[in-house]
Amino acid sequence: MKAAMRILVIEDDLEAADYMRRGLSESGHVADHAADGEEGYALAAEGGYDVLVIDRMLPKMDGLSVVNRLRAEGIDEPILFLSALGDVDDRVKGLKAGGDDYLVKPYAFAELLARIEALVRRRNPEQVETQLSVADLEMDLLSRRVRRAGVDLTLQPREFRLLEYLLRHAGQTVTRTMLLENVWDYHFDPQTNVIDVHISRLRAKIDKDFGRQLLHTVRGAGYCLREPS
């Protein structure tokens, strides 16, 4: 079981914030809520949170200003922006202000949860790693070799990057959008399930001949690479 995280949600839509808190607590996390920018800033400045989820449009102090001020004061908790504005340049603005990730409303809760968990992981980078592994699947980033149960696997460059991302987020759910953004650097909705086909190709290489499945489909959310329980 994952460790419980403390999450601050700064969101002026009270109903949406309530759903978010319930969803987060169902997932084993603790969420505090602030309904405007000033209150949110005050709570965040006290510290003690693992992740801040901040809406772009807030009363009293807008989301961008909250993040600017927090970053200026050296508060470096990971921040996830929520926004109803979906333009690409808007996303860039959010990241420039000091946000770590950007999610456009309406979003699936599974997407929000996956991104929050990925952000916390990103905050604690496992030093400079040259070896990634889950169970008997190993990746050597220097020699670019991938082995499962001691057997060398041949991966295409993109498959390698896909697997690397999954390994770095081992044990976490990653969504299709996260993969499209981080492995392919595309920030649009491709409508069809292009990612699924890439995953099933990867699965054929890393799982098919080895009995125990490592790459799992998480229904309604995405994928998860983890040790079999």
């Binding site: 979906g86 392919w184 595309y186 491709p190 409508q191 292009v194």
Partner: protein, 459 residues
């Protein structure tokens, strides 16, 4: 057309300004004429008086006071316009044609102007005179002057004429201004009336054009063109609203029915879960359609900002081909990229990726097993052409324009998934890059190409 309204027109105000400037110049000019005429007549008088004085002092030098008195007496008889007066120290008249020393302040050597009475044809008139006051040795005083009645009358006449001229100028200018304003106001009134009719909902009304091709006609033409554009936009908005009503209402209705029917039955937890999951999936589809519509509307209204960067089309297309290759292979289709040489293009990477992704997605969707899809990029003159060619059934020629409209899905594709918005978005993205989307017959299949003019990065 009432007067207060007329006075408020800009033409009238302009003609007033023009009139006051013009009036001031007329006033200045006439004033100068008046001033110089007055000066000229005065100096003529003064010169005559000076000549008289020269003659008299010559006489005095030759024959003394007695001679002077004689000359004064003689000239007083003959000269009608010249005035003389010689008195002793107590201003007792010795000789001259003035009855008495004038009752104005004088000083020796100075000029003075005064009224005096003179007989004219049996009547006595008061005339203005101008004279010089001189001292003759022995405390005698001499006044030499001219009757300036004539000059004064000329000056008075000029003054009156000038006043009339000015008044006439102002009156004519004012009348002209009113006439001009009224004419203009009448034409503007026509424009206003048409505008009010349009505001009242008669969107097909247009402002009449007189055909003079003057600035008001130009204005009318421009306004009419603007109205055409607005009418087009309103119509397309109406079309979108109709489309939304049709294409979003059906899935919403489906969604609602499913929830209602599920609640009616004594469903198991599993059934409820299935229904909820199907509902979420349907909601996602709805949101995707909604977002696509919003993006198209934004792109078409020019609200979507493009952030151009230099794109090397080779790797750009390879990446997209690589993303879609497994999906194509799954359907038994070949997908290949063919870019010859290095082609750099300045455009928005994300938007162009999306446009091309939509085209590739369509190609995969409408191709049959064993087909091939080719993505090409070529330079053609000042433009680049990026095309996706499939070997599917193609689009009938008379449907090619229609398929780029929102929600249009041809009968043949009714059974496959999709919102019918893909090509609309592609076309909008092409327009954002000042380019166009072309659909051509590839015999067999469709060649969908983005033709985009090259531009400098950062432009």
């Amino acid at each position: 057309m009432n007067l207060p309204k007329l006075f408020k027109t800009s033409t009238f105000r302009l003609s007033l300004i023009y009139l006051s400037v013009f009036g001031a110049s007329v006033l200045l000019l006439l004033g100068f004429i008046y001033w110089s005429t007055a000066r000229l007549t005065t100096s003529q008088t003064d010169e005559t008086i000076a000549a008289e004085i020269t003659g008299l002092s010559e006489q005095y030098r030759r024959s003394g006071l007695v001679g002077l008195a004689d000359v004064v007496r003689e000239r007083s008889r003959n000269q009608r316009q010249s005035l003389y007066l010689l008195t002793d120290g107590n201003r007792f008249v010795i000789a001259g044609n003035l009855n008495a020393w004038p009752e104005v302040e004088t000083r020796p050597g100075g000029w003075l102007e005064f009224p005096y009475r003179r007989p004219v044809g049996g009547r006595v008139e008061t005339h203005p005179a101008r004279a010089r006051h001189l001292i003759v040795p022995g405390e005698f005083q001499l006044l030499v002057g001219r009757d300036i009645h004539g000059q004064s009358e000329v000056i008075e006449f000029i003054r009156t004429s000038l006043a009339w001229a000015l008044a006439l100028t102002l009156a004519l200018g004012l009348a002209g201004g009113i006439l001009m304003s009224r004419n203009l106001l009448r034409r503007v009134e026509v424009i206003n009336r048409t505008s009010r009719e349009i505001m009242a909902g008669e969107l097909d009304q247009r402002i009449p054009v007189r055909g003079a091709n003057d600035e008001l006609d130009q204005l009318a033409l421009n306004l009419n063109e603007m109205l055409d554009q607005i009418e087009r936009l309103v119509n397309s908005l109406r079309e979108v609203t109709d489309n939304i009503a049709h294409d979003l209402r059906s899935p919403l209705n489906r969604l609602r029915s499913r929830l209602e029917v599920t609640l009616m039955g004594e469903g198991s937890a599993e059934q409820f879960r299935d229904a909820l999951e199907a509902t979420i999936a349907e909601a996602d589809d709805l949101l995707a359609t909604f977002n696509a519509l919003l993006n198209i509307a934004k792109a078409e209204a020019g609200q979507l900002e493009i952030s151009p960067e230099t794109i090397d089309l080779g790797p750009f297309i390879d990446d997209l081909a690589e993303l879609y290759e497994p999906s194509a292979a799954e359907k038994g289709l070949g997908l290949s990229a063919a870019v010859h040489g290095k082609i750099d293009f300045a455009g928005d990477r994300q938007l162009l990726s999306q446009a091309l992704a939509n085209l590739i997605d369509n190609a995969i969707k409408y191709s049959e097993n064993g087909g091939a899809i080719v993505i090409r990029a070529d330079r053609s003159g000042d433009a680049v052409e990026i095309s996706v060619t499939d070997s599917g059934p193609g689009i009938p020629e008379n449907d090619r324009e229609r398929v780029t409209q929102r929600f249009v899905r041809l009968e043949a594709s009714r059974n496959s998934t999709g919102s019918g918005l893909g090509l609309s978005l592609v076309r909008a993205i092409a327009h954002l890059h000042d380019g166009e989307l072309r659909l051509e017959d590839a015999r067999p299949g469709v060649k969908a190409s983005l033709r985009l003019p090259s531009r400098n990065p950062g432009e």
